[in-house]
C-alpha cells in the first residue's frame, strides 16, 4: 500500500508550537494524487513529451500509445469500448458537453430535459442556460432519503423528452441513485440517459451495458488521479450524437478539439486501473472506518442527524447535522480537521445547502451540517481523533447555544416567531 506523499506545506495550529497538518476528511471535494499515478505520469512530461496527434514520428506515436492505453483503462472500469471515451478537462466540461451537446443536436425534434434538484451546480447551471436557448427543463424533487422517485420520473417523460440527466452519487450526501432502473426506463421510452459519475466512477461498480447508460461524466481528481482531466462516455450503439462545445482540429472524433494532455490522460488511466483492482478492498475499509466514526460520534452526542439514505450511499461519505450548533462556528472549533459545511456562512450566498433543502431538511438543521469524507489514505487513528474533536467542539458550542438551552427547557424553537434578518 502506498503512503501519502510528504507534506511540504506546514501549518501551525493555535496553542501549539508544533507544525501540524489538519486531518483531511474532505475526499468528496478532491483526493490526493496516488503516488503510483504520479509515477506513471512522470515520463510524459520531459522524456515522452510528444503530441499524441502527431502521426508521422516516433515522439507522436509513443504519446498516442500512452493516451490510447489510458482510454482503454477508463473504458474497462465501466464496461465500455475505448472508442466511446472522450477525454475532457474534467467532469464539469463533460456534463456541459453531454447535456448541451445532446440538446442542441436533437433540438429540431425534441426540446425537453429532465434532471434532479440535487444535481451538481454544473448540471443545473447548464440546464438553466439551455432554458434561455428555449429548451424546457424539469427539475425533479427527491424523496426524503435523497433518492429519485421512479414513478415521478416515469410520469414526467414525454415524447418531447430528449435527455434524462441523473447523477450516480451525490457530492454532498453521497446517496446513490438507482441507475439500472432509470436506464431501463429511459431506453424503453427512447430517451437518452446521461449520468454524472464524478463521485461514483472508481468508487462503486458501474456498467454502461447493464445500466443502459448513454452518456457518463467522469472525473480524474476524485479518484486519486490528477486535476484537469476527465472523460465523457458517449455510446456508439445506439449512437448518441453531440454538438461539440470546443471547435478546432477535430481531435477526439470531433467531439472535443484540442491537443490531449498526455500526462493527465495517463494519470486518469492509471487511477482507473488502480480503482478497478482495489475497489472491493477499499470499499470494505471505508465502510469500517465510516461505521467506526459514526458510532463514536452518535454514541456520545444526542441529536445528530444523518442526511441522506445510509444504505444507498458512497462508502466514504457521511453528512451529519449537529442540531443547535451552526456549521461554520463548528468548523472554526475543529480547524485541525479539513471537512466541509452545508451551512450558509461558508458560501457567499448566505443560503444553506440546496441539496439538503431538497431533502426537506429544515433550514435551521441545514445550517448545522458537516460533510465528512473518508478515503484511501484515511487511517483509524485519524478517524478516532476526528470523532473526539467533533464531540468536544459540539459539546462546547451547545453550552454556548441559546437554541440548545431552549431545547433543554422544553421550548419548541419551531414555534417561536423569529424575526428574519
Amino acid at each position: 500500500m502506498a503512503t501519502v506523499p510528504q507534506a511540504t506545506v506546514v501549518k501551525k495550529t493555535s496553542g501549539s508550537n508544533l507544525p501540524k497538518r489538519p486531518v483531511y476528511l474532505d475526499y468528496q471535494a478532491t483526493t490526493p494524487t496516488d503516488p503510483r499515478v504520479v509515477e506513471a505520469m512522470m515520463p510524459y512530461f520531459v522524456e515522452k513529451f510528444g503530441n499524441p496527434h502527431s502521426r508521422n514520428h516516433e515522439h507522436g506515436w509513443e504519446a498516442e500509445e500512452a493516451v490510447e492505453k489510458a482510454r482503454k483503462q477508463v473504458a474497462e472500469l465501466i464496461g465500455a469500448d475505448e472508442r466511446e471515451i472522450v477525454f475532457t478537462s474534467g467532469a464539469t466540461e463533460s456534463n456541459n458537453l453531454a447535456i448541451a451537446g445532446v440538446a442542441r443536436f436533437y433540438k429540431d425534434r425534441k426540446d425537453h430535459i429532465v434532471t434532479l434538484q440535487t444535481e451538481h451546480k454544473c448540471v443545473l447551471d447548464t440546464c438553466r442556460h439551455l432554458e434561455m436557448e428555449g429548451f424546457k427543463v424539469t427539475y425533479l424533487p427527491v424523496k426524503k432519503d435523497g433518492l429519485v422517485d421512479l414513478d415521478v420520473l416515469r410520469n414526467v417523460i414525454t415524447d418531447k423528452t430528449v435527455l434524462v440527466s441523473v447523477m450516480a452519487a451525490n457530492n454532498e450526501i453521497g446517496v446513490i441513485q438507482p441507475l439500472k432502473e432509470i436506464g431501463e426506463l429511459c431506453r424503453a421510452r427512447g430517451v437518452f440517459f446521461h449520468t454524472d459519475c464524478a463521485q461514483a466512477f472508481g468508487k462503486i461498480p458501474l456498467d454502461v451495458e447493464a445500466m443502459k447508460i448513454d452518456l457518463m461524466s467522469i472525473s480524474g481528481h476524485k479518484i486519486y488521479g490528477p486535476k484537469g482531466i476527465g472523460a465523457l462516455f458517449v455510446r456508439r450503439k445506439p449512437r448518441v450524437r453531440l454538438v461539440p462545445l470546443i471547435h478546432g482540429g477535430g481531435q477526439e472524433r470531433g467531439f472535443r478539439s484540442g491537443t490531449l494532455p498526455t500526462p493527465l490522460c495517463v494519470g486518469l488511466g492509471a487511477a482507473a486501473e488502480i480503482a478497478r483492482r482495489e475497489m472491493a478492498d477499499e470499499t470494505a475499509k471505508l465502510l469500517k472506518l465510516r461505521d467506526r466514526f459514526y458510532k463514536s460520534v452518535t454514541s456520545r452526542l444526542p441529536e445528530v442527524y444523518l442526511n441522506g439514505d445510509m444504505e444507498h450511499r458512497l462508502p466514504g461519505n457521511l453528512n451529519l447535522s449537529f442540531a443547535y450548533v451552526e456549521g461554520e462556528g463548528l468548523m472554526m472549533g475543529i480547524k485541525d480537521l479539513s471537512v466541509s459545511s452545508g451551512s450558509a456562512c461558508t458560501s457567499a450566498s448566505l443560503e444553506p445547502s440546496y441539496v439538503l433543502r431538497a431533502l426537506g431538511v429544515t433550514e435551521d438543521l441545514a445550517h448545522t451540517s458537516l460533510r465528512i469524507g473518508f478515503g484511501r489514505f484515511t487511517t483509524e487513528s485519524e478517524v478516532d481523533y476526528a470523532a473526539d474533536r467533533i464531540v468536544e467542539a459540539v459539546t462546547k458550542l451547545r453550552q454556548m447555544s441559546p437554541l440548545w438551552e431552549m431545547a433543554q427547557e422544553g421550548i419548541d424553537i419551531t414555534k417561536i416567531q423569529w424575526a428574519a434578518h
Binding site: G329, T346, D364, P402, E405, W418, A420
Partner: protein
Amino acid sequence: MAYSEKVIDHYEHPRNVGSLDKNDPGVGTGLVGAPACGDVMKLQIKVSPDGIIEDAKFKTFGCGSAIASSSLVTEWVKGKTLDEAATIKNTEIAQHLALPPVKIHCSVLAEDAIKAAIGDYRAKHGQAKAAE
C-alpha cells in the same frame, strides 16, 4: 477565509457565556436572529437600581464572527448606563473585530441584541416609551 486575531480570541475564549434569570426584574433579555438564517443571539443585562449595567451574559448560535460580536458587546456594556449602552454601533463592533463585509450582519445582530435587552428591561419597568 481568514479570521482576525480578535475574532479567534473571542471564539476560543468567549467572555461572559451563560444565562441570567430572565424573570428577575433587574434583568433585561434580548433574543434576536433566527435559526433559519444561521444565527441567533441571546444577550442579557443585569441592571443595578441606579441604572448601571453591572453584569452581562450571552449565548449565541452562529459562526465565529457572530460569537465574537456577542462576546465583545458583553464586555463593552458592563459598567455603562442604559443610555450609554444604547449608543453602541454595529460599525464600532465590526471595526474592532475587523469583520469582512460578508460578516457585517453579525455586528448588526449584536447591536440589535443590546437594544432588545435594554428594551426588555425598560418594558419591565414601565419605561417602554422612553426607550423609543
